[in-house]
Symmetry: C2
Subunit: 392 residues, 2 copies
């Protein structure tokens, strides 16, 4: 392992720091103190136990490391407890310091506040979210690499099916194929409203089982301790099999869903799947820098309504309130593609669009792909075939 804490190239790190500093200035923050693993990975190219301190001016950054004390580099300081940071961080008593108040537990925030008793503490969660929402070229490269590997495994899914398989048995074979291709397995999620193992594979009535998590689709899961996705149901003739498994090959995740079938599906399901493909085709030209995210949602909902499919759109017994989301280090990044979202698409946002339908007794149909927002529209980076492919 490389013992230097900064695994990013110098230019790449400066680019990210200058982006963060620009947003800090807009938010009135003199400094931020970062502890979230995903944010540390963004700032340094590695996950470590500790903190990154970013001051407002160039060169004002320090990396406090609690374990792996052998890590080296400019501005790296080993600490045993956070209070020791006070010896190294010199700021005005009246400074405004950003902490991730939306991610860090209450007790830890109070402890950090105690280190800077005179400073004003503000939330910097949204600063980091906004910085990470616009990907750098190096990040796009990671995402493209994930996309190619993700898609390569999805193309092989029909070959993994054997007659008589349950949903979970097929999922396990796909998990294995993904892992052998280099998938890290980890499905990194910001906050505490979602959990999953490696994603979801749902078929038949299980697609209509509501889930407590903020995913687009549900599924009962194998156990009430993790109620999402496959439930051990036999894959039956005439049912759809929706595969939405983790694309984390690089520390950056692509999000891709494809629908398979056992034999042919009823017309309603085929129509809904085609509607999903058509929605994506429409959004690909609509989504440009400056487009409100809500406009994408509204266009999708309108198409579902026009075709009389809105009852099934984004769920049947329970409906998800969004059709897409930013993706990168985590699965739930900005922008959010939802009716009341105030997000505006920016050049090099990376978004997953997932206009899906739940058809009672058949299962879930539709596709999801990951896109880079470009000047000409949305560039797809997960290019597995979009039609429903029969498993046999």
């Amino acid at each position: 392992m490389n013992d230097n804490i900064i695994l990013l190239s110098h230019d790449e790190q400066q680019l990210r720091l200058s982006r963060v500093r620009g947003l800090m200035k807009q938010a009135g923050l003199d400094a931020v103190l970062i502890a979230d693993f995903a944010n540390l990975y963004y700032l340094t190219g590695r996950v470590y136990a500790g903190y990154a301190y970013i001051g407002g001016r160039d060169g004002e950054q320090m990396y406090f490391v609690k374990r792996m004390e052998n890590l080296q580099g400019d501005g790296v300081v080993g600490i045993r407890k956070p209070e020791q940071m006070a010896e190294s961080i010199l700021i005005d008593a009246s400074a405004v310091i950003g902490i991730e108040l939306d991610l860090m537990n209450y007790n830890m925030v109070k402890r950090l506040q105690g280190i800077f008793p005179e400073a004003q503490i503000k939330d910097c969660t949204s600063v980091m979210r906004a910085a990470r929402a616009v990907k750098t070229d190096a990040e796009l490269q990671m995402l493209r690499r994930s996309g190619v590997l993700h898609e390569d495994v999805y193309r092989r899914i029909p070959g993994l099916y054997r007659e008589g398989m349950t949903d979970i048995e097929l999922e396990i074979e796909i998990e294995r194929a993904l892992r052998l291709e280099g998938n890290l397995g980890q499905f990194r999620i910001s906050g505490d409203t979602m959990e999953t193992y490696m994603g979801s594979l749902i078929t038949g009535d299980n697609a209509d089982e509501p889930s407590p998590y903020d995913f687009a689709m549900g599924g009962a899961g194998l156990n009430p301790s993790l109620p999402t996705g496959a439930c051990g149901e036999l894959i039956r003739p005439g049912s759809a099999v929706m595969v939405d498994l983790c694309g984390n090959f690089t520390g950056y995740m692509t999000d891709m869903t494809r629908t398979f079938s056992l034999g042919s599906l009823e017309k309603l399901a085929m129509d809904a799947h085609q509607c999903s493909i058509d929605i994506i085709e429409r959004l690909v030209t609509l989504g440009k820098p400056g487009t409100p995210a809500s406009e994408l949602y509204n266009a999708a909902m309108e198409m579902a309504k026009e075709r009389g499919l809105h009852t099934y759109f984004m769920g049947h017994r329970q409906h998800a309130g969004f059709i897409g989301h930013g993706v990168g280090i985590e699965i739930n990044e900005l922008p959010v593609i939802a009716p009341r979202s105030r997000d505006i698409l920016q050049l090099h946002n990376v978004i997953a669009l997932e206009p899906k339908f739940v058809i009672p007794h058949v299962g879930a149909v539709g596709i999801e792909s990951t896109f880079v927002v470009q000047d000409f529209g949305l560039e797809c980076i997960t290019n597995a075939p979009t039609e429903i492919i029969s498993l046999t």
Copy 2:
């Protein structure tokens, strides 16, 4: 899916509630408001999005559900936002309410505080941790079932090895075998100091790579975004292969490590492995209700020192500061088996003991098993063979 929110039997739920209420009283809490998924699962037998409100008196409990609004049962109230709980919860203005301040993000705590502006808010994280540390008979049953399945897969590990495999290739085959046996995959961890996919498999020098996480062992991992465990290293003759993969078959996890080898290992490694087995044998008779957890740690460290092995004990370049931990719904429960732990073993604590050694160039050796604290000592519930088994 069962639409009743309480999946526990009536008696089982009352048992857990009375345990929580006893600890609430000791902590001076009039009520607790719980949101953490693991704690909700403990209180109801299912994970849901929302809150459990537990008042101090029998029958004072309510379950607020944000999604899956169809969930039913006594005391179940659907809400869209937490503020709506104020309409249902009637408490004295001066009440002391417990919230999970060690687990819940700062912004959410402030929001909940706003619902009860006159109440005094205290931390209830440790109340829930203490309640969950002593397992009920129903929980022990879940853990025993996980143990049997976990052990069944570990026995089959040598048959999964093929010549020329890397660490990650062998791990993937074990992951698949675990999943086919019903493993949920999820490695549930409390707090934000650890992450992993499904656990760890380490061989050779990778065992000596420090990790930022609070696991006993390290490993570089496949990517700096998840620096733990297998790194893609070839399994070489003369090296040890330590397998420490997830035992979550029931929502309750067993924790078990076994060591395999390719061919024979050098004497130092064999001696260290035997020391680990001997330490466990010693601790099994020492660990009874009333034994201080620190005493177990000290006995283990003393044995490692007596045999001149302390340089390698619990790591080589970096040393872990504990030899065991409680386990159940999560991997890091109470008690903590560490030198400065104040925990005292209680009847029906469930603990994983993992006296391990890192031998440079060979890898990690030693075993870990999960035990129930009984009056007669520690009862092992993960009974795969303990000797080093050759993969070929």
